[in-house]
């Protein structure tokens, strides 16, 4: 019998952990502890966690290359979907609390406010990535096309940082901090930082699900 590999054990734990920020928010809402400006708390909290999950997702590839631990890539889809999950909550809060489903007002906001324009674009671009995250879609698209489509995530990352940078009044500490992290994560993909490619051990490749073998 095979011993359970660490990723298989870790994955459900990660799933539970990914839900914690949402659970924490729901709990605070339930006990009426969302602070003085609850809408702002909801919008900041969900936006922050969408960004964190985006950066964590983008950290997987460099981590794999630096450590040579290939199996870690099997966490990437779930992390990416958590980013989408929090982005959806973030978008919904804006939809409901800032505009209360007023489509005209939202359209005006998107057209007129650069930080809304880029934030909204980032969310829209995440949708095809989430929709094509299933094994079936990877197969249907084929590895090359799937990979090209999913390189949109770099565009999303850039838009999200701009969104953050343009919405703060003056103190740009955090947007710049996350911007630097994003640039670092993208830079680590440069050939300079890559280990010479090794041939994957045939047994390991055989156990990887289709989605996990795709990618860089």
């Amino acid at each position: 019998m095979r011993t359970a590999d660490p990723i298989t054990v870790f994955k459900p734990l990660l799933f539970a952990a990914g839900l914690l920020p949402a659970a924490w928010l729901a709990y605070r809402a339930l006990i009426g502890r969302l602070g003085v400006n609850p809408v702002e708390t909801i919008e900041h909290h969900t936006g922050d966690w969408a960004l964190y999950f985006l950066l964590i997702t983008l950290a997987i590839t460099p981590l794999r290359r630096l450590t040579g631990y290939g199996a870690i890539v099997r966490l990437r889809r779930m992390l990416g979907l958590f980013c989408f999950f929090y982005a959806t909550l973030h978008f919904s809060a804006w939809l409901v609390f800032d505009h209360f489903f007023d489509v005209m007002e939202m359209a005006k906001d998107i057209r007129k406010r650069p930080y809304v324009t880029v934030g909204f674009s980032a969310f829209v671009l995440l949708i095809p990535l989430a929709l094509t995250s299933t094994n079936g879609m990877v197969k249907r698209l084929g590895g090359g096309r799937w990979k090209r489509l999913h390189s949109l995530v770099y565009v999303v990352g850039t838009l999200v940082i701009l969104h953050y940078l343009w919405l703060v009044k003056k103190d740009t500490y955090y947007p710049i901090l996350y911007g630097v992290i994003l640039v670092a994560l993208l830079a680590l993909r440069a050939p300079l930082f890559q280990r010479p490619r090794r041939k994957p051990a045939p047994t390991a490749a055989a156990t990887l699900p289709a989605a996990a073998t795709i990618g860089d």
């Binding site: 003085v36 400006n37 609850p38 702002e40 609390f97 209360f100 406010r113 103190d171």
Partner: protein
């Protein structure tokens, strides 16, 4: 095994829920009698050697300048603040302003006036009777509150210093002290914070110098010991913890205006027609409400102040 149920608590021992929820009010009422007696000897308690934030201000007259809108809860108004001297997060001022020493405090008056000088706060305040005014506060970030301030008209103070004919503006300066104000250790803004008003704005009866709110001495995070309140302008014009007044002939600086001239004008009157370049000013979120409400011209004080700006283009030029 026999487990005894705890004895019922007699209902006479149970504090009424409403009282429990208002315990600070309850506490302050309980000691009010003693405190008032102790403080009344001096001017409004403010001249007492140790004035603590939250101390009840006795002898505050009601005024006609009120709104019947629901007051923002004290808790909200004192924990959700923009006071970058103590940090840029909303809760920072309530966390870090405790250290600020508001006594001794002095206010320097200089520039185009007959009676410049440095006045101990007690002397600065002494001639003025305190009154309560309930004003709307509209932040440039599109949220708003309703706050009962305690203070006196800035105009009354200005008259005492006898500004000359050259005095066209008043400039205000906040304390500069990175030791006490940790936010000033980072160059987020060009410290010290300065603000300015045109003379007619400064002399307008709505313009208030506040020393208290909710019937109590100003908490440090709300700008103790002395702050400006200009209810028809965005909140950042209402400068906090003032140490200097200067009468000038030229339009003085204004920190936010200097920081981003296209985003924050010198006048910064609340104006739903003039959007912030990055966000709309047409609506605001009243703290305590979920959906936004329309923003009123001059924050609802148009009847009183719109005439100050007759003929001025408040959207494109004098925003």
């Amino acid at each position: 095994m026999l487990i005894r149920r705890p004895q019922e608590i007699p209902s006479s021992e149970i504090t009424e829920r409403s009282v429990c929820l208002r315990r600070r009010e309850f506490l302050s009422r309980s000691i009010d009698a003693g405190l008032t007696a102790a403080a009344l000897g001096a001017f409004g308690g403010l001249a007492a050697p140790s004035v603590l934030a939250g101390e009840k201000l006795p002898g505050v007259a009601k005024s006609a300048y009120v709104t019947d809108e629901e007051l923002t809860p004290y808790e909200s108004a004192t924990t959700y603040n923009n006071f970058y001297e103590f940090g840029t997060a909303k809760e920072d001022p309530s966390l870090y302003a405790k250290e600020l020493k508001t006594r001794p405090w002095s206010v320097t008056v200089e520039g185009e006036c007959a009676r410049p000088g440095t006045y101990a706060l007690e002397d600065f305040l002494k001639p003025h009777a305190l009154e309560e005014r309930v004003y709307r506060l509209r932040c440039v970030e599109a949220w708003s509150m309703v706050i009962p301030w305690v203070g006196f008209p800035l105009g009354d103070a200005i008259k005492r210093f006898e500004p000359t004919g050259n005095a066209k503006y008043v400039e205000f300066t906040t304390l500069l002290d990175p030791e006490q104000m940790p936010g000033q250790r980072r160059p987020v803004l060009d410290w010290p914070y300065v603000e300015g008003l045109r003379m007619d704005e400064a002399m307008h009866p709505l313009t208030l110098l506040a020393v208290g709110m909710y019937g109590e001495v100003l908490p440090n995070q709300n700008g103790a010991p002395l702050r400006l309140v200009v209810p028809w302008k965005y909140g950042f014009k209402s400068i906090k913890s003032i140490v200097k007044l200067r009468f000038t002939e030229e339009q003085p600086g204004s920190t936010w205006n200097r920081t981003a001239p296209d985003e924050y004008g010198f006048y910064s009157n609340v104006n739903p027609e003039r959007d912030h370049p990055r966000w709309s000013q047409a609506r605001e979120r009243r703290i305590g409400e979920f959906l936004k409400r329309p923003t009123l011209p001059f924050n609802g004080y148009a009847d009183q102040v719109a005439s100050l700006y007759t003929g001025m283009d408040l959207v494109n030029k004098y925003f």
